[in-house]
């Protein structure tokens, strides 16, 4: 089973996608989920408490996932926290850009629950 104590920040401007991510994470044992609707909101929440993992969309109003990643990486407490881009931007150039800017890993939408579970398992070495 997953480490239920892990605190995960889910960032997406789509309430549907946040709902899907929360439901899937809960199913595989991650129960401590915090949601944010854009990068600005996510950054504010990330400053209030340190999360163990951030799952973020790329294209969002206010602040996108790439800028959020760059800003989080500037904070010492987020230097080694896994940041996963969950996005429709699935081209090789997009993936390369995200990884260069500090993203740990990548999930392309659409994704199956199994893919999300596998990714989380990899991140936490389970």
């Amino acid at each position: 089973m997953a480490d239920t104590a892990k605190r995960i920040l889910v960032v997406d401007d789509s309430s549907t996608m946040r709902r899907i991510l929360r439901a899937t994470l809960n199913r595989v044992g991650y129960m401590d989920i915090t949601e944010a609707g854009n990068g600005v909101e996510a950054f504010a929440k990330a400053c209030e408490q340190t999360f163990d993992c951030v799952l973020t969309d790329w294209n969002m109003p206010e602040m996108d996932g790439l800028e959020l990643t760059v800003r989080l990486r500037q904070k010492p407490e987020y230097k080694n926290v896994p940041i996963v881009m969950v996005t429709t931007e699935g081209g090789k150039q997009d993936v390369l850009e995200a990884l260069t800017k500090g993203t740990t890993s990548y999930i392309v939408k659409p994704f199956t629950p199994e893919i999300l579970k596998q990714k989380m398992d990899e991140l936490f070495n389970r």
Partner: protein, 172 residues
């Protein structure tokens, strides 16, 4: 770039990529195998829907530098959109559904359909950017088409019924 080449790119590269990404989005996120009917090029009639997600597509063909712009629209009957939302979010048939969340889900589906096509087109050197989706809802509306665009309307079918995928592109 000749008109024949542009038409070939539209019919044999862009359109199949958008149909396949739509099929994949529905199979993966809505858990519904979905098939495409006969594409209708430059359709005269506009299909009517109750809720539609539209996403702008713009960019350039890297090989030639010629610019293009376009739109992807998904048009659903109202009841179908609600059922798709329930399936996507793993909700039960009697769970209450917020209409605003259905609107959001339709936009997200349009986003995934466009994103999947964008990724596969990058593989052949055709690059474009996609906008944030916009969603229109209202009984029996139609989505206005961009003037001067090559347009294709594709009926898509799954166990929830039929909806329409419409792709429009214009080279500048």
């Amino acid at each position: 770039m000749s008109n024949d080449f542009r038409q070939d790119v539209f019919r044999n590269k862009l359109l199949p990529a958008f149909i396949e990404s739509t099929r994949q989005a529905f199979e993966t996120m809505v858990f519904l195998p979905t098939s495409a009917g006969e594409p209708q090029f430059d359709p005269v009639l506009m299909p009517r829907g109750d809720i539609s997600g539209t996403i702008g597509v713009s960019g350039s063909i890297a090989l030639t530098g010629d610019n293009l712009r376009g739109n992807l629209s998904l048009m659903f009957p109202d009841g179908m959109a609600v059922n798709l939302f329930r399936a996507m979010t793993m909700m039960g048939p009697d769970d209450p559904v917020d209409a605003q969340e259905v609107v959001d889900a339709v936009g997200e589906l349009a986003n995934m359909c466009a994103g999947g096509a964008k990724a596969s087109m990058q593989e052949i050197g055709l690059n474009f950017m996609i906008s944030l989706p916009s969603v229109v809802s209202g009984s029996q509306h139609s989505v206005a088409r961009m003037a001067g665009c090559a347009t294709c309307l594709v009926p898509m079918r799954n166990d929830q019924g039929e909806f329409h995928l419409e792709i429009s592109f214009q080279w500048k």
